[in-house]
């Protein structure tokens, strides 16, 4: 349950019920009325009728405290502002999902209120081995609890020795990928070489932070081979806070399971075959515990062989298809 302190403007009183008006900067909908107090549910019908508030159409009416019977008056109740605690999942979901959702056919406010990062479902993991790295993702594309496709691509190539996986909202992952490819191609034209993984991670971080107050809802996992074939992995949150790791990084709805699985299965300095096996097992066992990700896995292993150029192996895993 979430607790939120919201400043509201009290606009009227019907008996012992207070009617308040949410400031428009906080929520996307312009008319968000809050009714609280004793017998609030009975009065909400009156609030909802256009006559009681100047004929404006009521979009949503949040009723708080309808079941409780406060006998004492709420403090600071005068004409101006009231501070109170609101426990409301629907309110929080409207705040955390700042897109206009007025169409009834979209039914985003389903029974299971999900965060925006869990809308499509994803699982990503990257691991470091001896002169090699592996990056793996699940293959499910869903719309909340409905599966739309089982062959969705989340790991993208930037250049031969650098890959990025994007978890979170699929549309933002696709948009981010297009922006990053654009920036990298410009870099290639100017510098006449590929970007180093560390530089690329800084680029991703900067791009994400540019949208600090309206972010892309995706968490990238970056894996690449740097100078001297040194593997590099890093992850960041949706605002660009980098987390460099020496062993493994995870992201997505199954991240908690992935942390546990990777921590127990990981060993430093693994050879490519063993690294491939480890990352596959970690991914499959974690997504089996997460209903929003799975439907197989995709593993990409890159290792710098001694005499030949960098070798890349891509494999599709068949796990529990549910």
């Amino acid at each position: 349950m979430y607790k939120l302190i919201i400043k509201i403007n009290v606009v009227g009183k019907l008996g012992r019920v207070w009617i308040a008006y949410m400031p428009t900067q906080l929520v996307w909908d312009k008319r968000f009325f809050v009714v609280f107090g004793q017998n609030a549910s009975r009065c909400s019908k009156q609030v909802a009728s256009p006559k009681s508030h100047g004929g404006e159409k009521l979009i949503r009416c949040l009723v708080i405290g309808s079941a409780c019977s406060h006998s004492h008056p709420l403090p600071y109740l005068e004409k101006k502002k009231v501070y109170f605690l609101a426990r409301s999942i629907s309110l929080l979901s409207s705040l955390s999902f700042p897109l206009a959702l007025s169409s009834p056919t979209n039914h985003l406010y389903s029974l299971a209120a999900m965060s925006i990062f869990e809308y499509n479902g994803s699982a990503l993991v990257a691991m470091v081995g001896k002169n090699c790295f592996a990056i793996a993702s699940d293959r499910r594309l869903g719309v909340q609890l409905q599966t739309v496709a089982t062959d969705f691509q989340r790991v993208f190539k930037i250049h031969d020795r650098l890959y990025i996986g994007l978890s979170g909202l699929a549309t933002d992952a696709q948009t981010m990928y297009q922006k990053l490819v654009f920036r990298h191609k410009l870099y290639q034209l100017r510098e006449e070489r590929d970007m180093k993984p560390q530089t690329f991670a800084s680029l991703v971080s900067a791009l994400l932070y540019e949208k600090r107050f309206g972010p892309f809802f995706c968490q990238p996992v970056i894996a690449g081979l740097g100078d001297n074939d040194e593997p590099f992995i890093c992850t960041m949150d949706c605002l660009g806070a980098k987390e460099l790791a020496k062993d493994f990084v995870v992201s997505g709805t199954a991240s908690e399971s992935l942390y546990g699985a990777c921590e127990s299965m990981y060993k430093p300095d693994m050879e490519p075959e063993e690294l491939f096996e480890t990352i596959s097992q970690a991914l499959l066992s974690s997504v089996d515990r997460d209903c929003l990700s799975g439907w197989g896995g995709y593993v990409l292993l890159v290792y710098a062989a001694l005499l030949t150029p960098t070798e890349v192996q891509e494999k599709i895993l068949k796990g529990r298809m549910d």
Binding site: L99, N106, A149, G214
Partner: protein, 204 residues
């Protein structure tokens, strides 16, 4: 509620949509065509807010035509899908369109293809897909009965089974459906499945 669904067969792609225009409890009309023919070899089935749907699909259609006029060759299905996705993505954080789209097309050399484009601009190439409350029934029917490279008869049989399922099991089932097909010979209307005929409007 609005249902749009489609599948890809051997050398063709089919998009079917319901044809009722509804405003809360009132049915305005039962013969609203929601599958737009973009150009000679492309279909765009859309569902969502009525105003957004008509506005956005017409916008896409005119831009597709403009490309053909300017460049002399038509856009490929993949390019159209990416363009549509780009428009939805650009508008997403300003004034979002609430339109879900199934884009089907036939390209010489590539064959038929279908793209699922969500209202938040999630794009994916699919073989079978559905939007709306009908998707709960259609997707399961198609998972069970679809196989790659179906013939036209088999595909229409599957579409009909989906329509029957929607009519039987959905409480506010739309009565009429339109089925359109796109193949080598072009995009065209294939059939209507009507259970309630709209009365003919007498011309004064």
């Amino acid at each position: 509620m609005e249902c749009v669904f489609g599948l890809v067969g051997k050398g063709f792609a089919i998009v079917a949509a319901d044809t009722s225009a509804v405003n809360s409890i009132l049915v305005h009309k039962s013969n609203e065509d929601k599958v737009m023919v973009l150009d000679s070899h492309k279909l765009l089935g859309a569902s969502g807010e009525p105003g957004d749907r008509v506005q956005f699909t017409e916008y896409i259609q005119k831009n597709v035509h403009l490309y053909q006029f300017r460049n002399g060759i038509p856009l490929t299905t993949a390019a159209t899908a990416n363009f549509t996705r780009g428009e939805l993505a650009t508008a997403l954080r300003k004034n979002p369109y609430s339109v879900n789209i199934l884009l089907a097309g036939y390209d010489k050399g590539v064959g038929p293809s279908m793209y699922y484009i969500d209202y938040i601009a999630t794009m994916h190439k699919i073989e079978k897909g559905a939007f709306g409350y009908g998707s709960y029934f259609c997707l399961s029917m198609m998972d069970r009965l679809y196989h790659p490279d179906m013939s036209i008869e088999e595909a229409i049989e599957l579409i009909d089974k989906c329509i029957i399922e929607i009519r039987t099991r959905l409480v506010v089932a739309p009565p009429n459906f339109v089925i359109k097909i796109v193949d080598e010979d072009g995009a065209r209307e294939y059939a209507w499945r009507e259970s309630i005929k709209s009365p003919d409007v007498s011309m004064a």
